[in-house]
């Protein structure tokens, strides 16, 4: 190093440094971590990485855009088709909560329902919710939380269903859709208490034909009764006219 320095032509106004520090001590690459000069430590402290401001956590604010539909697996599509078929064919669809029923309880329930033609269906809640959100039965979505069972039948056999469910304590009826009408649990109970269609029709017919039958019965009686009634009616009319 001294040779190279002397070899260079020194400028007139140049100068040689008075002291030359020869680096000694450990090399650049050592097995241990070399002690760091305090100024270098300060440099390292000053030039630390500062990350960008953290964004709010994902659930903090409601998302502006619409919820993206999750990828539907083929199994889900298959089950959705089954659900669609059920809702199309059956007039009554009852939703009940199934609280830890054992296989023998389920067997008895199915047997009792089968006598009335009611079927027991199981569908995953995920599938039900995605089907209901796209169909007209959207208001049934809150019913499908937790372990649920569907009781479906082609004819609305509400009375029989309620009777069977009263026997099995594990099943709690949440609601039903009977003839495209959503009913709550109380609604189902009151629906069951309604008289049958034939009885209602009979009552209606009776009510409509009541005046005609009354007139008929009046004429069929003895004519003296009719004249007495008419005289009484005339007297009443005259009294009313005198009063006014």
């Amino acid at each position: 190093m001294a040779a190279t320095l002397c070899g260079k032509l020194l400028p007139q106004k140049g100068w040689l440094p008075v002291t030359q520090s020869v680096r000694h001590g450990s090399k650049a690459v050592t097995r241990h971590k070399k002690p760091i000069h305090i100024l270098k430590k300060k440099l390292v402290a000053v030039t630390q990485y500062i990350p960008p401001k953290p964004t709010p956590p994902p659930g903090a604010y409601p998302c502006q855009t619409a919820v993206v539909q999750e990828q539907e697996s083929p199994l889900m599509r298959l089950l959705k088709r089954d659900v669609e078929e059920v809702f199309r064919d059956c007039k009554m669809v009852g939703v009940a909560q199934n609280n830890s029923s054992r296989s023998d309880d389920m067997m008895m329930l199915r047997n009792r329902f089968h006598k009335h033609g009611i079927k027991v269906k199981f569908f995953p809640n995920q599938v039900m919710r995605s089907f209901l959100s796209e169909s007209i039965y959207g208001n049934m979505t809150p019913l499908f939380i937790g372990p649920t069972v569907l009781f479906v039948s082609k004819e609305p056999k509400v009375k029989e269903m309620l009777a069977t469910l009263r026997v099995s304590p594990q099943m709690v009826l949440l609601g039903a859709c009977v003839d495209n009408t959503l009913l709550s649990a109380q609604g189902v109970a009151s629906y069951a208490r309604l008289p049958s269609v034939a009885v209602v029709q009979g009552e209606l017919v009776g009510g409509l034909s009541a005046p005609a039958s009354h007139t008929g019965s009046l004429l069929q009686r003895h004519p003296a009764r009719l004249t007495a009634l008419l005289q009484q009616y005339v007297a009443q009319r005259a009294k009313a006219e005198e009063a006014t």
Binding site: V29, L39, L43, V44, T47, Q48, Y49, R102, S103, F122
Partner: protein, 257 residues
């Protein structure tokens, strides 16, 4: 005779009675629970080609040279990041060096024997990503005084830098199946090492690039060192200008940008 007929009639009646319930028979013992299980599709290995010799090949202790020459220490072959062999070629998972160091034949034998013994050669293959030892390391005898020339060649080593791949493993396997083998080997290496997959190595390299990009600190080591602000180069080494404070000697300092 009459009893037999009676029994037959009863059985026929029973069969006919249960006939209408045949639809229930399949489901009466099952209690379905709520929830739809979506299963993950297992990975498709149809495009993976296994080589003929799947195991790690033997590496020589000493290179095949006619004339052996003693070499200078040149410790700079340990320093800084690796520029070569820091990406995947054929395998899926690899051991990546997280520091600098020298690997000698003992380490290589340990790796070869462990990996060859523990891996399934029908479904996995392994490849070396480092050379056989070629750098001679000299050592003087025990108790010798200074002077008397350079020592004799003691052993040969392979220098390894930070970020270099050591061994690559691939085949019809997932990371979980080979991870325990590679971790066992990685712990015994003379420098810190990690097991990474293609995705995780890319993520690792990307993280460093992201850190450099979105650093909110206006003062960076590179800026201060290159500008010699406050005469800081008095306490810095010339290598700090190149490595920007991420490496000191053979060590890598994580978290520096």
């Amino acid at each position: 005779m009459i009893a037999l007929v009676k029994a037959a009639v009863v059985s026929v009646a029973a069969v006919s009675a249960h006939g209408h319930q045949h639809g229930l028979r399949h489901t009466h013992l099952k209690v379905l629970t709520a929830g739809l299980k979506t299963l993950e599709i297992p990975p498709d290995y149809s495009d993976v080609v296994l080589p003929e010799k799947p195991k790690l090949k033997f590496m020589n202790k000493v290179p095949n040279l006619k004339k052996v020459k003693k070499e200078m220490k040149r410790l700079r072959d340990i320093q800084g990041p690796a520029r070569a062999a820091n990406t995947f070629t054929s395998g899926q998972y690899a051991i990546v060096a997280m520091g600098g160091g020298y690997i000698h034949w003992g380490h290589l034998e340990m790796m070869r024997l462990t990996i060859n013994r523990k891996m399934d050669s029908r479904t996995t293959f392994a490849r070396w990503r480092i050379n056989a030892p070629y750098k001679p390391i000299t050592r003087k005898g025990l108790g010798q005084r200074m002077g008397g020339g350079k020592g004799a060649i003691d052993r040969y080593v392979t220098p390894i830098r930070f970020g270099r791949l050591i061994v690559e493993v691939g085949g019809k396997v997932e990371l979980g199946e080979v991870e325990h083998i590679l971790i066992e080997v990685a712990k015994k290496l003379p420098f810190p090492a990690k097991v990474m997959s293609r995705a995780s190595l890319e993520a690792f390299q990307q993280r460093q690039a992201d850190m450099e990009e979105n650093n909110q600190n206006p003062w960076t080591y590179k800026r201060i060192a290159q500008g010699n602000m406050l005469g800081i180069r008095k306490v810095l080494s010339p290598f700090d200008l190149i490595h920007h404070g991420r490496f000191t000697g053979k060590f890598h300092i994580p978290g520096r940008v």
